[in-house]
């Protein structure tokens, strides 16, 4: 058990102090590329000999970011810009930004204007993913990204080295998925906050370190007796489920998180890179295979709702909690479909507003406690 606690402490530290992790990497002479959310081609960074680190902003009230980003911009973008402008990301060789929503289009200009010392590598995911040209388009975008990365690192990436990096990320995806499964047998240890630490730290750590540490945790958990959870179980969806005070509300009300579709957590690990010989084709094909994501257009608008209901049924959860990022248009578009699917499946639906610029969780506290009381009364 002590070994588990030591590992969990490490995940908590990394999740809460990514700047300290970055400092160590920089002191080791490694180069870092910041990755805005989400679906950045991280195997390209790894193959270039650099470290991809997630950029998720923080729980702050931005001030200088207001120079470029209006108050009604989603709070992740505002806090990321604030950190960029105030030197928190200093030391990064570049940041990579996918143009996945309208906010990113403005954000790319804001970053170029406000954070001149960290170059921006922007690229576009084609939204017409069924179009025959989508794969070629994505490949060309990634090739363009790679040229910028090679110039920064001085490393020439080959088809073989990129394939090796892609394989490494497939192992990471698999280990994160396994963690999700094993965690549900140990909900006494893997509380919502602990689960979040493991998931979030994987966005900051080197890919090989994540595979090693999460792999060790899985092995240690498997050695523990299976815990029979008697509280409520729910599924989280949205961009992020932060701050940690929000997750502690689940714990206070004996609610376990038994699955998630959060962009910061499992959503980025559930689609493997397909097998093949041509590395760029493998890399680009993953984007075409992504399902149930607000940022990847699908003709079937019910896809995400169905996926979440299936996930809830599989994990015996009775509630789907939508963590709705304030001012996030793409998530707002999906919300009515998710809500309807949840209702039709006879599951409880919670909508929790997420805003990095405030620490107040009063309304979420009432909603979560009410769900717990309601579910208990109907048992």
């Amino acid at each position: 058990m002590k070994k588990i606690e030591t590992l969990l402490d490490r995940f908590a530290f990394v999740a809460n102090k990514p700047s300290a992790v970055m400092k160590v990497y920089l002191e080791e002479g490694k180069k870092i590329v910041g990755c805005f959310p989400v679906y950045t081609p991280q195997p390209l960074i790894t193959a270039s000999g650099m470290i991809p680190m997630g950029i998720w902003g923080g729980q702050i009230t931005p001030t200088v970011a207001g120079k470029y980003n209006p108050i009604f911009t989603c709070s992740i973008m505002r806090s990321c810009l604030e950190y960029g402008m105030t030197g928190v990301y200093k030391g990064m060789s570049a940041v990579m930004m996918p143009m996945l929503c309208d906010t990113f289009r403005g954000m790319s200009s804001s970053w170029r204007a406000g954070v001149k010392e960290i170059p921006l590598i922007a690229f576009i995911h084609p939204q017409n993913r069924l179009d025959s040209g989508a794969l070629d388009f994505m490949i060309e975008e990634y090739k363009s990204v790679l040229k910028r990365l090679e110039a920064l690192s001085g490393v020439q990436v080959t088809n073989a080295s990129l394939n090796a990096a892609i394989d490494l990320y497939n192992r990471k995806n698999a280990v994160m998925q396994t963690f999700n499964e094993v965690a549900n047998d140990h909900l006494d240890i893997i509380t919502p906050t602990v689960r979040h630490h493991v998931m979030k730290s994987a966005t900051f750590l080197e890919v090989s370190e994540t595979i090693q540490l999460v792999g060790e945790l899985i092995a240690l958990l498997k050695a523990q007796p299976i815990h029979k959870w008697t509280g409520h179980k729910l599924i989280l969806t949205g961009i992020t489920a932060e701050p940690e005070a929000l997750l502690s509300l689940f714990e206070e009300n004996k609610i376990a998180v038994v699955g998630d579709d959060l962009a910061q957590e499992s959503r980025q690990y559930r689609t493997a890179y397909p097998a093949g010989e041509m590395a760029f084709e493998r890399l680009a094909s993953q984007w075409l295979n992504i399902k149930g994501c607000s940022m990847a257009y699908e003709e079937d608008s019910q896809s995400r709702g169905k996926m979440l209901v299936d996930m809830a049924k599989k994990q015996d959860a009775d509630c789907i909690a939508v963590c709705l990022m304030r001012f996030c248009d793409v998530e707002e578009y999906d919300y009515p479909y998710i809500s309807k699917a949840t209702e039709n499946a006879g599951l409880y639906s919670l909508c929790l507003e997420i805003d990095q610029s405030t620490q107040d969780n009063g309304q979420s506290r009432t909603k979560i406690q009410s769900y717990a009381e309601m579910a208990a009364s109907l048992v």
């Binding site: 304030r326 809500s339 209702e343 409880y348 639906s349 909508c351 507003e353 805003d355 405030t358 107040d360 009063g362 309304q363 009432t366 909603k367 406690q369 009410s370 009381e373 309601m374 009364s377 109907l378």
Partner: protein
Amino acid sequence: MYVLGIDIGSTASKAVAMTMDKKIYAKAVVSHGTGAIGPKQVYEKILSESKLEKSELKRILVTGYGRFVFDDADSQKSEISCHAKGVLYLSPDVRTIIDIGGQDVKAILLNDKGMITNFVMNDKCAAGTGRFLDNMAKVLNVKTHELGALSEHATEVVNISNTCTVFAESEVISQLSKNVSVENLIAGIHQSVAKRVSSLVYRNGIVKEVALSGGVALNKGVVKALSEALKLEIIVHEDCQFSGALGAALFALEEIGQK
């Protein structure tokens, strides 16, 4: 012996003392919500007015925004559960409850056994809440409790935005500068609240009978506008403001085994 239910809201604190056989023994309200003053005042007020001693209170259950900061509380429940319980006590046929509080709006659906099956709450925005009405009253230089009566003298309803309290305030000031009557503006403000609240209610679904609870339910202008927006009659009990505290007292009874 008695039990006490206290509802510490954002703008007012309410208390209901109940006998062991589920009868309301005393009730009190003060116009201070969560913080140091309101909960203390409402506690002292109900004790002094009812002549009850603290030792006669077998259990105190607290609900509302300030439910976790009341020292003498034996337990807490969410205001959604308490409002549902309290409204059902007052009006047993109700299946949809709309609670407009100082900073929250809630729509609650109940099944035929009176159990909550679904609920929705507003986002972090004052539009459509009691706070919105307080702000508008200040701009119009009237008291919040006067809004309902004044709106009865309106000759037309001025269109006021329900997107944001601050935008709405600018609109009201702009209309005042055009000499639009205060009564017509108030009717517009009530309609603005009603449209905002009704969209939340539609999201949750509506099953008759429908009741309004919370302090804003005392405003007849809001009730009329909401009734028009939802195209149905809305039940407002004379004790609607106490439904949260009443529900808390009923839960307190359950917790000591007095079902």
